[in-house]
Amino acid sequence: MKMHSKELTKLVTRLESGEPFPTDLYRRTGNARILGITGPPGVGKSSLIDRLIDNLRRQHKTIAVIAIDPTSPISGGALLGDRLRMQRHSEDEGVFIRSLATRHHHGGVTDSTPQIIHALDAAGFDIVIVETVGTGQDEVEVAEVADTVVVVLMPELGDEIQRAKSGLMEIADILVINKADLFNARPSSGAPQYTALKWERPTIHTSAKSGEGITTLCGAMDVHHAYLVHSKELAKRRARAVRAEVTRLLQSRISASILRALEGPQAQTILTEVAKRKLDPQDAVEKLTKEILGSNQRSSKHVATSTRRQTAKRRKTRR
């Protein structure tokens, strides 16, 4: 089932705003290949994706791209400039491109990225590409959502990038050195190898400008996917992704509960007692934990009901 463009974009917007993913759609997920593309700013990730789309479309695959850029910590706004390099695909019905701002989430992806990936997956896209900025140790979350992680670098980057690379290198399934035409790059490593037990990470030299190396990269992505399937790594990664998603949702839910609890009158009393040294912080935590867990049970019922109501409403308006 392919969702019509406008419906899909509206759903993505709602998910972006923190709405939970519709339950009935979840069982339609798990089919798309999820590809993460990350690397420091300016290496040419978007231009590379622009070229990849050409190749993949020639293979009659449908592609969705989530391009993530950082929200300004000062203004809360963002300049989303990745789409510019992929604009020529805007009218292709087999391509969907959406720009997202991190909205203060650190780690490279956004809070809602897993859910948005589900939406695109459920909509029937063959491949979902998640493009993120990755410079340091922090921005490696893309590995939690993707089956294959491509790290893109440029030759002759400065020292800071070399240091930061170490975090990126740990998550890279495929390493791409882009802008090979600008600099005198060494030839790529040979075709990627793997055994059932071990993946040998290839280094591929590309020029998004000239198109050089793109077919090789596509091939490497396909080979990696084959490796994931044969080695049963895919199931392991997907399990990790599920765990990461549920963990974050839990953390989010419980953080919200904590904040709510701290606003309540009972919390105020407890905190005053601690300040007066009548109670110590550990005791305060014991008492407040009981309150939070209790309130969670109440609120989870509320959320379940509200989701069912929303889903029913959407079913009615859909056709």
Binding site: S47, G81, R85, A208, K209
Partner: protein, 502 residues
Amino acid sequence: MKPEIEQPGKFPFTRGIHATMYRGKLWTMRQYAGFGTAKETNKRYRYLLGQGQTGLSMAFDLPTQIGYDSDDSMALGEVGRVGVAISSLADMEQVFTGIPLDKVSTSMTINATAGILLALYLAVAEKQNVPWSKVSGTVQNDILKEYIARGTYIFPPKPSLRLIADIVEFCAKEVPGWNTISVGGYHMREAGCTAAQEIAFTLADGITYVQTCVERGLNVDDFAPRLAFFFNCHSNFFEEIAKFRAARRLWAHIMRDRFGAKNERSMMLRFHTQTAGSTLTAQQPDNNVVRTTLEALAAVLGGTQSLHTNAKDEAIALPTEESALLALRTQQIIAYESGVTAEPDPLGGSPYIESLTDQLAQQAREYLNKIDNLGGMLKAIESGYVYKEIYHAAYEHQKAVERKEKIIVGVNECVSDKKLKIQMQKIDPQLEPRRRHDLAALRKKRNAAKVTRCLATLEKAAQGTENLMPIIVDCVRNYVTVGEICKVLRGTFGEHRANHSI
């Protein structure tokens, strides 16, 4: 770096490239014009030449600049808007009817399609029986700034530089009076860069072109005397004068020390100036006449070889006949009545001007070093460095204006209540349909077999390394259109795709 005593006409030419400057010969008064049809352009040129303008300057519409014929779907809504639509030799012949090409000098603001427009001009000269050795003019032919500040690129950088070198090489032999590249800082300044950046980015582009031609095997002294530059003249009066002086000093050293030029004429920075369009306001447009006058004066005191003064309505559209005339008169009054032409570099020696010159030269040198460290201007552009510098500067300027740290009379201070309406040149709505009709007729009339042969020859040559100019000239002689030539070249060279990051 600065020698003890600098003299006009002597290396490093800080004080001017000629010993007597305007005492010997005035700057060329060259007003940019051209719009709508070839016929209207011809009429306006003959008017301006009759009024005392001494050189022609051609503006082309965007489809012509980007290699599309007037009947191409990409040209919709754009034909004849910002300049004249030229799709074939028939159009070019019409523009120059009654204008002998051995008696005028024509500057063409054309970049990606410079080779084709030059070929068209040469074909017109042939038809007038004017030998190419008698033809003089300029093509802007400066693709690097297009990628970052003006946007009329077609092909990627490598084939674009090949075309530029083809033109330089061809003209060195066949059209010795032609200025083959006008390296522009005007547009980058309009896009928002600072005075020091304008110097640095312009000279860095120039360095890239010289480097390309030298790598082609050309001797620097064989073509460098024909390189020209195109600067902005902005509102900070003394800074602009100092800017021109600093640019001359730096270029002289670059040519002699970096490229080993021996001929002094290779070291002279010759330039055309346009007063800054971005300083003109739509509010209280008469103020623009004053702005343009001050800017023109700064350009003259800065030693420009050629000057375009903006008309007061140039902020809104292509100027009317009246306002275009006043812009020309502005230059004429400065030239004939003000007395500033009596001495070359009259402000030279002023402590303020000399210190500003030194400062700007130093700042520009720092940018040039940065660009060298990035691997040259081409890599600096492709890395996004230049783009970021320009548009961040533009944003800072806007913030300064909105915070009233920078005052613009009539806009954020001295505002008047009345809103003034500007008279605009209207473009005939029948223009596009007529162009479509004319092109269809042309394609029927011409020799189709010759056209096919020419395009096949062009394609083969483009895939190789031979100089494309003679082939392009042959194409246009046979009424192959601009769009048809570019379609072949696009197929061979590919198209440049914007990849800016801010």
